[in-house]
Symmetry: C2
Subunit: 614 residues, 2 copies
C-alpha cells in the first residue's frame, strides 16, 4: 500500500508491534472520541487535523480489541473503515491481525485477455457458506479450465444472507463468511493453484442497514439519486475525501488481500460531473499499483450505458477502465434461447442481432431501444474483444427473475451445450455463473437477512411490486425467508446425471478449444466474420488469426433445419454437439468439410466447430 496510506485510508490503521493507530474523517466534528470496549472499557479523545481527520495511537492494543467511535451527540458507531465487524453491521469494530502467511510470492496475475471468469456467491456455493469451504472446489474449477473466480461482494452486510450489494462496511470482509483471514486463505489457495480472484465491489451506494457514514462526513449527496437510495458524493464539496475512501478501499483489496481485479458494480449509478471522473482516477490508481508491484491488476465495470468511453484508454479520451460487462450479448442470446420478450428483453430478437453483437461488443451502438424509449449506446470503434465480458447467466440475470430459475431449468440439453459454445467461443471474455457448467437446477433467488422490520417489509414489497405484472403459480419467494436462501444453495450431487456430466465435459472442451486454437485467442474484432442463414435461425462465425482459421456453426432453431453453405476450403471438425461423445443424437456434420456446396440438416440447437491451420 502507498506510503500515504494512513492519511488516506480514512479509517483505522493496521496494528503494529508498537500499538494501534486510529484515524477517521469527520470534518464537522471538533472532538471525536474513541471508545475501546474490549478488552478494556475506556474512552480516548482523538487529535483533529485541518482536513477533519481525527487520529490517535494507542499502545499495547492487540488484535481482538473492539471499539466504537463516539460522536458529539453521544452516538457510538462502528469505524467507517472497519476491517472486521464480528457482531455484524451494528456491533463494535474489531482490530485484526495482518501478519498473514502468504504462499503466492510467485504469482503475477493473469493477462486480462486470458481470463475466463467463474462468478460465485460465497454463501450459497457450499453448504458451509464460507471462504474456506470454497477451497476444496478450486481443483475442479481449475480442471474445468476457468482462470479466475469472481466473488460476489463480500463487504460486511446485515445478517448472514445477502447477495452482497447491501454492504455497509466496504473495508470489512463479511464475518459470517470467515472475515479477512478467511478471504486471505481463499485468495492464497487460488493463487497457489494458478487461479486469479476477482472481487465485486460496490462504489455506487451503501446498504440501507448499518450504514452510519453520513453521521461522520459528507459521504452522501442529495443532488442525485440512485435506484438503491442516497447517492455518494463524488463531485461535491469535500468529495476528494470520499473518493480517497473508495480508491484506498480498492487498493487495500488489491494490495493487502492480493485480489487480482475488481468488478465495479453498476458504475452508471456513480454520478460525477467532474473533469476528472472518479472512475478514471480509480483506474489510474489500480494501474499504478499494477506497475509498481509488477502484477496484473484490473478494473472491470458493470455498466448500463453501452458507453465505450468507459473502456477507452485515457489517451483516447476514455476513462481507462480495462473491460466492462456487456448485457446486450446476454439479452440477445437469452431471447434466442427462451423466446422471452418481457421487460428489458424488449427489442432483442433474432440471430442477426447476435451476429452484430459478436462483431462489435455492443448491439446497441446508437439505435432506438424500445425498452429505454430512446436511442441507446455508441459505436465501439476498434476496441478489442477483451474489453467486453459476456455470459449466458449471472447472478442478476438469474436472480432477478421472479423465481430465480436458471437456464438449466428452462432449456433442453442441446440448447445448454449451444449456450456454452457460443459464450465460450465468442471473441469476448466469458463469465460462467456457479453451477452453470453442470446444469445446476437449484434456483438463485434474491435473499436478504435484515434485522429492521420496516426494511424487511419494504424489500418484500419492492420485490412483489417488481413482479406484479407477472402471473405465476405460487407465491413470490420471500427475500427474508431462510428457505429462499437455502433453496439457492448449489445441490452439487455426488452422482451427477449423465447429462450433467456431459454438459460439464462440453464446457471443459469449449474452454480447451478457446485456449488452444489461435483464432479463439485473437481479439481483433476485424478478424471476426459472422453471417446468418436459414431465415436467421443459423449463425456461422469465422474467426481467423495470422492464417489459422476457425469456423463455428450454431443453430438457434428448436427444430431440425436444412442448411446450405458454399465452402471454399477444407476444414476439420473439432467439435460437434450431436456427437455421442457429448451425449448427442449422432446426427453429426462431416468430419471434414471439402470445398464445394454443403447441404446438411442441423439438429435442434446444433453447435459445431471446425478448424483449419495455415
Amino acid at each position: 500500500m502507498a506510503t500515504d496510506s494512513h492519511h488516506s485510508l480514512g479509517g483505522r490503521e493496521l496494528p503494529s508491534r508498537d500499538g494501534c493507530s486510529f484515524r477517521v474523517w469527520a470534518p464537522t466534528v471538533e472532538r471525536m472520541q474513541l471508545h475501546v470496549v474490549d478488552p478494556i472499557d475506556r474512552l480516548f479523545t482523538m487529535e483533529r487535523d485541518e482536513d477533519g481527520y481525527h487520529s490517535l495511537i494507542i499502545e499495547g492494543l492487540t488484535s481482538g480489541a473492539r471499539y466504537f467511535y463516539r460522536l458529539p451527540n453521544g452516538n457510538e458507531r462502528p469505524d467507517p473503515a472497519s476491517q472486521s465487524q464480528p457482531e455484524g453491521v451494528h456491533g463494535a469494530s474489531e482490530i485484526i491481525r495482518t501478519d498473514f502467511e502468504w504462499h503466492d510470492e510467485e504469482w503475477r496475475g493473469i493477462p486480462l485477455p486470458d481470463s475466463i471468469f467463474y462468478e460465485l456467491h460465497v454463501g450459497t456455493f457450499t453448504d458451509e457458506g464460507t471462504f474456506e469451504a470454497v477451497i476444496p472446489h478450486l481443483d475442479e474449477l481449475r480442471e474445468l479450465g476457468v482462470t479466475a473466480i469472481e466473488l460476489m461482494p463480500v463487504a460486511q452486510f446485515p445478517g448472514s444472507r445477502n447477495w452482497g450489494y447491501d454492504g455497509a462496511y466496504p473495508y470489512a470482509a463479511q464475518n459470517s463468511y470467515g472475515g479477512a483471514d478467511g478471504l486471505r486463505h481463499l485468495v492464497d489457495a487460488c493463487h497457489t493453484r494458478g487461479l486469479a480472484v476477482v472481487l465485486d465491489v460496490v462504489y455506487n451506494h451503501l446498504g440501507p442497514e448499518g450504514n452510519y457514514l453520513g453521521e461522520f462526513a459528507p459521504y452522501f449527496t442529495d443532488r442525485y439519486k440512485t435506484p438503491w437510495g442516497v447517492a455518494l458524493n463524488f463531485d461535491g464539496p469535500q468529495s476528494d475525501h470520499v473518493r480517497r475512501y473508495f480508491i484506498d478501499n480498492a487498493i487495500v483489496w488489491l494490495d493487502q488481500f492480493h485480489i487480482d481485479a475488481l468488478r465495479l458494480d453498476a458504475v452508471h449509478a456513480i454520478v460525477d460531473h467532474t473533469a476528472r471522473p472518479f472512475l478514471e482516477e480509480l483506474a489510474d490508481a489500480v494501474h499504478e499499483l499494477s506497475r509498481s508491484n509488477g502484477k496484473s491488476k484490473f478494473t472491470i465495470a458493470e455498466s448500463d450505458l453501452n458507453d465505450p468511453r468507459l473502456i477507452r484508454p485515457t489517451e483516447k479520451g476514455g476513462y481507462g477502465l480495462d473491460s466492462q460487462w456487456c448485457d446486450d450479448f446476454h439479452h440477445v442470446l437469452h431471447v434466442l434461447l427462451t423466446g422471452e420478450q418481457r421487460g428489458y428483453y424488449a427489442g432483442y430478437q433474432g440471430v442477426e442481432q447476435l451476429a452484430l453483437t459478436l462483431k462489435s461488443g455492443f448491439l446497441f451502438t446508437g439505435q432506438y431501444s424500445t425498452y429505454r424509449q430512446r436511442r441507446y449506446g455508441a459505436k465501439t470503434g476498434d476496441l478489442p474483444g477483451w474489453k467486453f465480458v459476456v455470459c449466458s447467466q449471472n447472478h442478476d440475470q438469474v436472480g432477478n427473475r421472479m423465481t430465480g430459475d436458471r437456464l438449466a431449468a428452462q432449456l433442453s440439453f442441446p440448447a445448454l451445450k449451444l449456450t456454452a459454445g457460443i459464450t465460450l467461443l465468442s471473441p469476448f471474455l466469458p463469465l460462467l455463473f456457479m453451477g452453470e457448467e453442470y446444469g445446476e437446477t437449484a434456483p438463485f433467488r434474491y435473499f436478504t437477512s435484515h434485522s429492521d422490520e420496516p426494511l424487511i417489509e419494504a424489500v418484500r414489497r419492492g420485490r412483489a411490486e417488481e413482479f406484479a405484472a407477472f402471473t405465476w403459480d405460487g407465491e413470490i419467494p420471500d427475500p427474508h425467508a431462510e428457505s429462499t436462501f437455502e433453496a439457492s444453495r448449489l445441490n452439487r450431487t455426488a452422482a451427477p446425471a449423465p447429462e450433467q456430466k456431459a454438459l460439464r465435459a462440453t464446457y471443459r472442451e469449449m474452454i480447451h478449444l478457446r485456449k488452444t486454437l489461435n483464432p479463439f485467442r485473437d481479439f481483433d474484432l476485424a478478424n471476426v466474420e459472422v453471417v446468418t442463414f436459414a431465415s436467421e435461425r443459423v449463425l456461422m462465425m469465422r474467426r481467423h488469426s495470422q492464417g489459422d482459421e476457425a469456423l463455428v456453426v450454431a443453430s438457434f432453431s428448436s427444430d431440425p433445419i436444412v442448411f446450405h453453405a458454399a465452402i471454399a476450403s477444407s476444414w476439420h471438425r473439432r467439435f460437434d454437439s450431436e456427437s455421442p461423445q457429448w451425449l448427442g443424437t449422432g446426427s453429426t456434420l462431416p468430419e471434414t468439410l471439402l470445398p464445394g456446396e454443403l447441404q446438411t440438416t442441423l439438429a435442434p440447437w446444433h453447435f459445431v466447430v471446425y478448424a483449419k491451420a495455415k
Copy 2:
C-alpha cells in the same frame, strides 16, 4: 435546413404559397386541436403519427395569422416551436413571413481563430433597445476591430426587460426587440459589413414564466435539478425528441437566420448520462451544416467544469465543441486588478496564476479549489489557445455583482489600459462586453419584467439572499424596477471624455497588434512563454511564431515598481501605455531594447509591447 426538418422541427412549419403546415409533439395527446384566432376564429383537429407528432396543413393562411394549440383539458397554449409571440409569452403564436431579402450571398463566415467577440444586450445597447437600433453602431464596431457581435439570448422572454436567460420560446426572436425580421435585418447588416454574429442560446432550462412545454410532452425530468428550475430531459425516455427540438433550434438559427455561431449557455447544467451526449450530437449537427453549406459555423460552450473533454475533437474522445469560455482567466485577472477575494474569487491570487492560465487555458487543471472544496478541472494537453474564450468583463461578471458595477467604475485609467492589453494579446479568443472599450460607467444590473407577482417577489428575494452577506450603502437594486433596467443602458455620450477616447484608441490598437503581429496569431500554447518578476507583480510574456517574436511586459502593481531583466536580443517598442499618445504620464520604456541588462521603473499598471521580426 435539412430535408427532414418538418418531421423534426417539432412545431409549426413555415408557410408556403400553398398554405401553412403545423406540427407539434404531444405523445400522450390523442387528439390535438389547433385554434386559429385571427383572422378567423376556428378550431381544427390535427392528425397524429405514431411518434406523437400532430400535424395539419391549412390552405390560405398567411403571415399575421395567430393561433394556439388546444390541449385535451381545454388549455390553449402557444406553439412550443413558435417563431413569433407578438403579445408575449402567454399570447397567441403568429405565423410569420420567411421570404427575407438577404444581401450576404458572399458571406462565408470568419475562421474561429480570427474571432474577437463583442457581447451586447440588445435591450440596453441603445436607447431604442431593438435589433434595428444596433445597426447604426456596426461601423464603429468594425472600426474598433472586433470581428463578431455576440447577442445575449433573444428567445422570447416574459415582458420587455430581461437578460434573456428566462426565454420560454427558443424559436421566437423577442417581440420587443423587433422579432424575427428585426434579427434578420441585423444579421444581414453585420454580414455586409464583414462582421459575424454569435447568438447566445439556452439549452439547459426554460424560463419560469410562459413555459408550457411540459403540458405537451416530456421535455422535462425530475431526475435532475438545475439552479434555475426543472431540468430538461436529455437522457430519459423519449429524450430523442427533446434533443431534436433543441438541435433543430440550433439549425434554424444558423441556417434560416444566418447566425454564425452559437454560445451555449451553462452546459454544465445539461445533465446527460448517455453514451452519445446531446452536446456531441449538437456539435456534429452544426459541423455537418457548416460542411454542407460551406460556411463557418461554430459552437462555443459556457462551462463551469474546466473539462477539456468538451472541446476535444471527437476522435480524441471529446464532445467536439469548438471553443469554451474560460472563467479562470477572468477571475485571476479580476483579483489582480481589484484585490477582491469573496465568493468564487476565493483561491485566485497572484501573477503566477495568470502566467499558468496563459500557458494552459485553464488555471485549475486538477488542483484543490477553496471555493469548490475539491480538486477542480483537468489538464488541457495540447489544445490550441482558440479553444478558450476570455474576457475581463462580461454580462455575468459585471451583472452578477450586487450593484452591477463595471471595471471602469472601479479601476484607474492605467489599469483599464492594462486590462485591454492583457486580454486582447492573450493567446485565447477575446470577448469584450459592450461599452467596455470606452470605459462606460453605467452599471449592468440584473433586471426582469415578469408579470407573475409571486415570481417577481421570488426573484427579488433570491437576489437579496445572494448578497445578504455583503454590506452596501443603499438598497440592492430591484430586478423588477424599470429604473434598474434603465440604469443599465449604455450612456454613450456625444462628447466622450479624453480618457474614454484614449481607452477606445488603446483597445483599437491592441486589436490592431493582435491582427498584424504574427506571434499574436499563433495559438500553439507551446509557443507562449511567461515569466513573473518583482515579487510576482510583473508578468512578461514572450510569444513566438516561426521566428517572429513579441514581448509583453505588464505590471500588476498600483505603485511604481523597479524591474530588472536580462535582454538577449534587440526589440522594437510597439506599444507603451505610458506614452502620451495613450494619455500616459510619459514614463515610457526605451524605444529599442538592446541586449544586456535592463533596469527600469514600471509605472503603476504599466503595459508595454515589443516586437522582433525574424
